[in-house]
Structure formats: C-alpha cells, structure tokens
C-alpha cells in the first residue's frame, strides 16, 4: 500500500479508471461508462483495530469483530485484528476466540497506553507492507477510535465514515456525470450507514474508490460472536519502529472516575430532560422525580448541555452516553435521532411532551401528551403516594 505522498509505481494495478478525454472526443458515451464494472485493488481482508485499556481488549472490539465477520464472509475475505500494547499474548488469543483469523500484534512498552502518534506510526507502517491494501478497516467510535481513525484515513487519503450504526456489503452504481472518471459499477462496497443530520434520517455512505474503506462504529451497537476457544488463528508479530517525532505527546496520568452521582451506565431508571424544560430550573423538578427511585439518575439531551443548563456528564445521545436502563423517562425531549441512538435500547421508554408529533413517541412505549410542568409534579405525587402505600403495607406486615 502506498501513501499518497509517494509516487505511484508504474506497475501498480490501475486503481483509477482512465479519465475520458473530453477535449478530443466530444461525445462521451456516459451510459457505457456507467455500465463498466470497476474493481479497486484489495486483498478482501477486513481489519479491526483492537482497542485495549490497561491490557484488556475493550468490548467495542469484540462487537467490531462480530460485524467484521459478516463483512468478510460476504466479501470472501479474511477477518483480522491489529492489536497494539504491551504483554498482550492472552488478549491476542481472545481476539481469535471472537472471530479473528489473523491477529497482527505490535508489542512494545511505548505502546502500553494509547497515544495518537505511536499508534498511527505502527498501523500505517504495517499497512504499507501490504502489496495490495485491505478492503475494510474498522475502529470503534470511542475517544480512541475517533482520535486515530481520521489520522489513518488522511494518511492514505481514503474515505472514513464516523459513528456507523449498521455496516453491509453491496454494489454501487456511480452515475453522477459531473464526475465522469468515476462512472461505473463498483461491486463489494462497504455500506457505512449512520444517522444523518436532519432528524430521523440515516445515510448510506460509500467510498469505493480507495481501499481500505474505513468506518467507526458506535460502542454497544454491533453484536459480538459467541467466543469459541476452538477457533484457530494466526498471530503475527508486527515490527515497531517509532521515530523521535512520535513522542511529542506524553501521557502523565490516567484517571478513571467512579462518577459520583452521575452513573448513567448502571442506573435502573433515567429521568432525562430536553429543551422543552425551558431552563436549568426544570432539572430541579427532574432531580426530584429521579429521587423517587431506588437507583434513579438524571439525564439530558445535548441541547440542554450546550445551553449550560446541566453538566456534560449527564448528556445522553450521539455525543454523550449510550444508555440501556430498565426505564427511561424522556421529558420535554423531542427525540432527534442523535438523542434516540443513545437511549432507544432502554427496556421501557416513557415520553412526556406537549407536541404529539414529537419523534420521541416513535421510540417510546408509553406517552403522555401534555404540559410537563403539570405532568411531572403529578407523577412525583402519585409515585410518592404509591411508595408510601407499599412501605406502609410492608411496615404493617412486619408488625404482624
């Protein structure tokens, strides 16, 4: 694989279809061009860049292997993983159990913690050793994957789609005559499908002109395979040649907080507020409702966080946390797709909104159309009354 900066070898496979000679030949047969089949060079390999934290491969990697297995099977190619870190032998075996056929392991003390430049160096060096590029390169949409993927994509000048919720393989017919040198039918394209701006749309994004075709997927969306210890795979050591400029960033300290008070991930009930609350004081009411529950936590939509009504730690949705509580109460949240992708896996969703057409009702199981400033206090009142009754009955029982 060559980087764009390097001159293309004369004997390299013809990646680009020949441009039509518009000046000499006035009549371009667009229809004929659009029907030609174009295959870009690829070894059909699907590669997942594994993510490890303190020596443990993170769940998103197993999810990516699950998605990648499906893509590799459709392409008829191999599924591989690139694992970077230090002392990771067992973790490489684990990747094989989750479906990888090849694991490229870069083991080096300087790779113990993720850092952009050393990881970028090792991965781009490895990919440059490929005579024919892999077909697909996948990373997680995490603070690591979203930091690293764009650097690799820019390095190879290849396409990258962020935060996908679905991946698939299929053909693409490029018929845009404004761009005649790309006209044609491309088989085996990565369909990178993601929520798109403008509410309730999803976009299928393709980049069949360059390989690898890259995408990141959101944690918690793809389904991992059942781990199987009988799966066989090939573990290959990757040389690590870091340069002085790769050490321009040093990690001083890593802190994982036990997020006191805002543990959205483990909450049974999330009481979440949107812009319909009208101001920061609306969250006081939500805190009171959340306090009615044994393990209730307040969440928020991005708009409220952007407006400074509540800290970022509470944000749910595409740019915040993805949650799956037993009960999600959406209050004054219109339910833009960016919010819904963060909460639509909740076991039970209750929506309260004054607008009966709000998209939140499309994902909710139960809804109340009404003024939240009346509905929420009434809900608190009834819950407190029922709680008192239950507690009262229990108290009576214990007396007997």
């Amino acid at each position: 694989m060559t980087t764009p900066e390097e001159p293309k070898k004369a004997d390299a496979p013809a990646a680009q279809p020949t441009p039509p000679q518009a000046a000499e030949a006035p009549a371009i047969d667009f229809d004929a061009l659009a029907k030609r089949e174009i295959t870009t060079p690829s070894n059909k390999e699907v590669i997942v860049i594994a993510e490890q934290f303190q020596g443990q491969v993170q769940p998103v990697t197993f999810e990516l292997l699950g998605a990648g297995r499906d893509l590799a099977d459709k392409l008829g190619g191999k599924l591989s993983a690139i694992l970077l870190g230090h002392n990771l032998r067992e973790q490489a075996d684990k990747l094989i159990q989750y479906g990888a056929e090849i694991v490229y392991v870069a083991d080096h003390p300087e790779l113990e913690n993720y850092r952009t430049l050393p990881y970028r160096r090792v991965i781009t060096d490895l990919l440059k050793t490929f005579e024919v590029p892999p077909h697909i390169l996948l990373l997680g949409s995490t603070t690591t994957g979203r930091d690293l993927a764009p650097r690799i994509a820019a390095h190879f000048e290849t396409g990258l789609t962020a935060d996908c919720t679905e991946l698939d393989i299929g053909p693409y017919e490029h018929s845009n005559k404004a761009d005649p040198d790309k006209l044609g039918i491309y088989p085996g394209c990565l369909y990178a499908i993601r929520p798109s701006f403008g509410e309730s749309l999803k976009a299928r994004i393709l980049g069949p002109w360059n390989n690898p075709q890259m995408a990141t997927t959101r944690p918690g969306v793809m389904i991992p395979l059942e781990p199987d210890a009988s799966r066989q795979g090939d573990i290959r050591e990757v040389p690590v040649n870091l340069l002085p400029e790769d050490f321009r960033v040093q990690v001083m300290e890593i802190v994982r907080e036990l997020q006191a008070g805002v543990n959205l991930a483990d909450a049974d009930v999330i009481v979440s507020g949107g812009f319909g609350l009208g101001g920061p004081e609306g969250f006081e009411m939500l805190k009171e409702l959340a306090a009615c529950f044994e393990n209730g936590v307040v969440g928020a939509s991005r708009k409220c966080v952007d407006a400074g009504w509540i800290p970022y730690q509470h944000q749910i949705g595409q740019t915040g946390k993805t949650v799956r509580p037993k009960i999600y109460i959406a209050i004054g949240i219109s339910g833009a797709i960016q919010h819904r992708v963060g909460m639509n896996k909740s076991s039970l969703i209750i929506a309260i909104n004054k607008d009966a057409d709000a998209p939140i009702f499309q994902v909710a199981h139960h809804g109340i159309v009404g003024d939240l400033s009346h509905v929420v206090p009434e809900m608190i009142r009834q819950l407190k009354a029922s709680g008192a009754k239950i507690n009262g009955e229990e108290a009576k029982k214990s007396l007997v």
Binding site: G159, L201, R204, C292, N344
Partner: protein, 277 residues
C-alpha cells in the same frame, strides 16, 4: 515575553436545526433557506483560543471555509475577541467530505504560516464526524489532543486534560499542536464591549473590514482543486432513508386530565417497582 505568538481557531457555519426554517418535510436541510449559526461545538474552541490569548498572549485568527455568508461567524468571533478572520470560499469546494475539507483548510494554514496552537471544535452539528481536526493535524504532521476539556501552557508545552471513557488523562504535548475542544470545556463568554465596538466600526468601514476579515480562494492558498470538492472527496452519500420507526407501538395518552393519564401510565408499566420514597 509571551510564550505564544499565533493561535488559530477553525470554525464553521452550520444550519440551525432547532429553527423550523429550511427543514424539508423529508428531514433534509435546505441550506439556502435554513437559519445559520456558529457550530455550537466551535464556541468551546473559540473560548479556548481566547483563554490562551488572555493568559499567554498572541493573536487569535479565526478561520472558516464555506460560502460568503460564513463571514457572519468570523464577525461573531471578532465580537468575542478574535483579532482576524479568514474565509476560504470557492465554488470548487462544494460537496467536500471531511478529507477534502481538511486538505483545503490545511492549505489555508500553510498559506498563513504555522501557528503555535490550532483549536477546533470537537465536531460539527451538521456532520458529527469529529474527523476534520485530526485530519488537518495529519496533513500538517502535528501532534494532537482531541477531546480536550482543560489545558495550560507550561515550559513551552501544552498540559492538557483529555476526556476518555469513564474518566480523563493528562498529557504533555509539544507545540505546534492541534487541539479539539470537548464541550465539557468552559462555555463561550459574552461578547466583549471592545469586540462589539470593533464590529460596529467594521460594518461602517468597508476598507477596515477587508483588512480584518479576508476572503481567499483555492488559487490564493495554492490548493489543488482536484483534491477539493466532489473530486477530492473519497466518500459519497449514496442514499438517505427515513429511519425505520423503532417502536411504533407507543400508547399515547392525550386530552384527558393529567391525574388520569399519569395513573394510567403507572398502572400499565413497572415504574412503581423501582420506587423508593
């Protein structure tokens, strides 16, 4: 002597998705009709750039790419305290994806000269990719800290706090460098009186305005048009679909007394099982 001379902040004008104007019935956005705004994420980047100037000196240059109305957000940056604005505007940039955008913007930066620090918002509300910042850093061969929520300059290096899953890390980074700013950073402060006066003056004096806010083309920054726009973009949006409705079975209560509607929800869900009061 200040340790910082030049600070760039990259900002984008995006459609205001909360306004109804310009939102087509199929959910797509008509950019010509939509209300325009400064990308909300860029407000944090602008604040970070202005903090850097306040604490360590230097000049803040706001840079944007887009059609001519994007001058509005450069004016906004000046109202908040930026010194200069540059807009890269060229028809050949239409349909640029993140790679092509990063290519074009890195040419502007090379044209203006390497700064000490480049700030970007984490991502935009109309693309949500978070890719352009790191792609520019790659083009310029700079180190980066993404998801930065706090930082200081110490002994000629940036000490930055970076968000990671369930926590954070502190890193020490050499300059020049690129930083993408998380929205857990300080929100943008109010416009300064000085900045507001400056903008009022610029609006009256075309010549002064042209000295502070410059519009440049691809040719002026030496960018290859084949690496920009549709031709320079390796990705294409092949298809958009309405999202399949996930639930579709919502039991909606409407028009009844609130007390009745709330009771009905409590009776038909397991909500009360979680009560502890």
């Amino acid at each position: 002597m200040s340790s910082i001379n030049n600070i760039y902040v990259l900002i984008k004008q995006v459609p205001d998705q909360s306004a109804k104007a310009g939102i087509n019935p199929d959910g797509t956005i008509d950019r010509a009709k939509a209300k325009r705004m400064l990308n909300p994420f860029d407000r944090y980047a602008l604040q970070a750039a202005l903090h850097t100037k306040q604490k360590y000196g230097g000049k803040v240059t706001a840079i944007s790419m887009g059609p001519p109305p994007a001058v509005e957000i450069l004016m906004e940056a000046i109202e908040h305290g930026a010194d200069m604005g540059y807009l890269l505007s060229d028809r050949r940039l239409a349909a640029s994806d993140t790679l092509a955008t990063a290519y074009a913007l890195h040419k502007v930066i090379q044209h203006l000269g390497q700064p000490d620090l480049i700030f970007c918002g984490l991502q935009t509300t109309d693309g949500d990719t978070a890719q352009v910042g790191p792609q520019i850093a790659e083009r310029l061969a700079l180190p980066q800290t993404s998801y930065c929520e706090d930082f200081r300059v110490e002994d000629g290096k940036v000490v930055a706090r970076r968000v990671i899953e369930g926590g954070y890390q502190w890193v020490r980074m050499e300059m020049p460098a690129l930083i993408t700013v998380a929205n857990s950073y300080h929100p943008l402060a109010y416009k300064s009186i000085r900045g507001a006066r400056q903008v009022q003056m610029l609006l009256r004096n075309e010549e002064a305005k042209n000295n502070v806010i410059k519009t440049v083309t691809l040719d002026e920054v030496g960018a290859d048009p084949l690496k920009c726009g549709l031709k320079g973009s390796p990705t294409i949006v092949a298809k958009t679909d309405k999202v399949a409705e996930i639930g579709g079975s919502c039991v909606v209560r409407q028009g009844e007394p609130i007390e009745v509607m709330v009771r009905d929800v409590l009776q038909n869900t397991n909500l009360r099982e979680f009560v502890s009061v």
